[in-house]
């Protein structure tokens, strides 16, 4: 199984945005939305006065979007990509909020979450549109486990840099080569309060439900072996026995009296 990784030599990017347009066209991304981006950072030493950082879904290991999805509509595939099954997505937006890179958006046409899938949905087996169209070849994509691939070569020979938003704990697989600006992204809200509340609720269901089932099982066994009704029958039978013996005693005493009289 291939292990896909995208590497980006951001120093080569000239902000032509061909990657964004090619992606929109190949994946039919609605107007005004995009699966990838180019971040611009003002820099006086750069030739254009800016540093450019192309980006897209980081296809993280242990992705926060996957953990946030309540219906398992998104998952980390064995080929290294993070995928969405739109047929299972209810469009609740939990994953969109959970992504610290804001790489996801709600597709208004499908009503489901949308993001980069390395163009596997639109053109499976082909190089992603952003990689194919880049005139400066700053995006390199391929199977990192194949020693003969270009991506494996650059990952082996150049310094890998992973851009991580502050305090996000993200583990991106998208790798920048040698240098990129910025290296750390600002922290942003990534939690959906309602959906986060489901985690402790699920735990509570597990424990309370388990205890209830255990208690019911125990009660069932108890009633099978030592029925409560029998406990009540015993005192009732004893009381009936007492009453009968008292009555017999009283009758006996009365007869004695009659005999004496």
């Amino acid at each position: 199984m291939a292990h896909y990784i995208m590497a980006i030599d951001s120093e080569r990017c000239m902000n032509c945005k061909a990657c964004i347009i090619a992606c929109q066209q190949r994946n039919h991304v609605p107007y005004g939305l995009a699966r990838n981006w180019i971040r611009e950072t003002a820099c006086s030493t750069a030739p254009a006065g800016f540093r450019f950082q192309p980006g897209t879904c980081m296809h993280c290991d242990d992705p926060s979007c996957v953990r946030a999805c309540p219906t398992a509509a998104t998952w980390k595939d064995s080929d290294g990509s993070v995928k969405i099954d739109v047929s299972r997505c209810i469009g609740c937006g939990s994953c969109i909020k959970a992504c610290p890179y804001h790489a996801r958006f709600l597709n208004p046409q499908s009503g489901t979450a949308d993001k980069c899938d390395y163009c596997q949905g639109s053109t499976p087996g082909e190089v992603p549109a952003c990689v194919a169209v880049c005139p400066t070849h700053c995006r390199i994509f391929g199977d990192a486990d194949d020693p003969g691939s270009e991506v494996a070569g650059v990952l082996a020979t150049r310094k890998p840099i992973h851009v991580i938003p502050k305090n996000s704990g993200a583990r991106p697989t998208l790798t920048y080569l040698d240098a990129t600006t910025p290296e750390i992204l600002p922290e942003g809200p990534t939690e959906s309060r309602p959906v986060e509340a489901m985690r402790p609720m699920a735990k509570a269901v597990t424990w309370i439900g388990g205890l209830v089932l255990a208690a019911l099982g125990g009660t069932f066994v108890r009633q099978l072996l030592w029925p409560s009704a029998r406990e009540e029958e015993e005192p009732a039978a004893n009381a009936a026995g007492h009453r009968a013996s008292n009555r017999a005693r009283e009758e006996g005493t009365a007869e004695d009296h009659r005999g004496q009289s």
Partner: protein, 248 residues
């Protein structure tokens, strides 16, 4: 014998039981990761049977059928079943209901002898058509159903590419409320099943959910307040007439 449940109420009870159990099981199987209350194998099992998309479709389909059948039932059986049911389950008796729940629980778990040792009288307060436990579960079930229907309809039909789709925040809250309602019933349903089907002395009550009829002796013992009402109306003395009167 006296009629306790109408034929339509019996049908709806078992229809409800099937739908609730399927929806509960399949709904839990839709949840993943930390939100999965059982375990990953539960999701794998159900998705193995129905497929990933199939499970969501089946959940939505059964939920929709359940809603539609219930809507028809509420409309056509309002006077014979629904309103009397709602009237009976809301006849709360505060302290007496609480005492019944505590004493019945202790009677089953500890037995009468140990309950007395705790200084608690195990004799149950007299109950009406429904006992306190049945009333509690029924009220919870009605409220949970309303929550499940409202949030389920929004998530199922007012989401995705629908022109009238609600916002992501509304959907997220729907998800939590839907789960909360289902979780409540996931805890109460096993108690209801045990008390109705496995607890000692409940055989006639369980059989009445199949035949609709319950022995008068059982009513006198378990539902003395209902028995008193029947007696006041002169009905226990003429059980044959009751058989021909559904909904009594």
């Amino acid at each position: 014998m006296i009629r306790r449940h109408t034929q339509s109420a019996i049908f709806m009870h078992w229809f409800n039981a099937f739908c609730w159990i399927f929806l509960l099981f399949s709904g839990f199987a839709l949840l993943s990761g930390d939100m999965q209350p059982i375990d990953q194998w539960w999701q794998d099992l159900w998705q193995g049977i129905f497929g990933q998309r199939g499970l969501l479709v089946a959940h939505l389909a059964v939920g929709t059928i359940w809603c539609l059948v219930y809507a028809l039932y509420i409309v056509f059986c309002a006077r014979s079943d629904v309103l009397p049911f709602l009237r009976e389950i809301t006849r709360f008796q505060g302290k007496s209901d609480l005492a019944w729940c505590v004493r019945k629980g202790l009677w089953l778990v500890l037995g009468p002898r140990r309950t007395r040792r705790l200084g608690i009288n195990p004799v149950l307060p007299p109950q009406g058509f429904y006992n306190a436990g049945q009333k509690m579960v029924a009220v919870m079930a009605v409220l949970s159903s309303l929550g499940l229907v409202a949030t389920g309809i929004l998530m199922g039909y007012f989401s995705g590419d629908a022109a009238w789709a609600v916002s992501q925040t509304v959907l997220q809250w729907c998800l939590v409320l839907h789960f909360a309602c289902a979780a409540l019933m996931a805890i109460l349903l096993p108690i209801h099943i045990y008390m109705a089907a496995l607890a000692p002395g409940e055989g006639p009550a369980l059989r009445s959910m199949l035949t609709g009829m319950v022995p008068l002796e059982h009513v006198r013992e378990h539902n003395p307040l209902w028995y008193a009402e029947l007696k006041a109306s002169g009905r226990p003395e003429s059980p044959v007439r009751d058989v021909s009167q559904p909904g009594q």
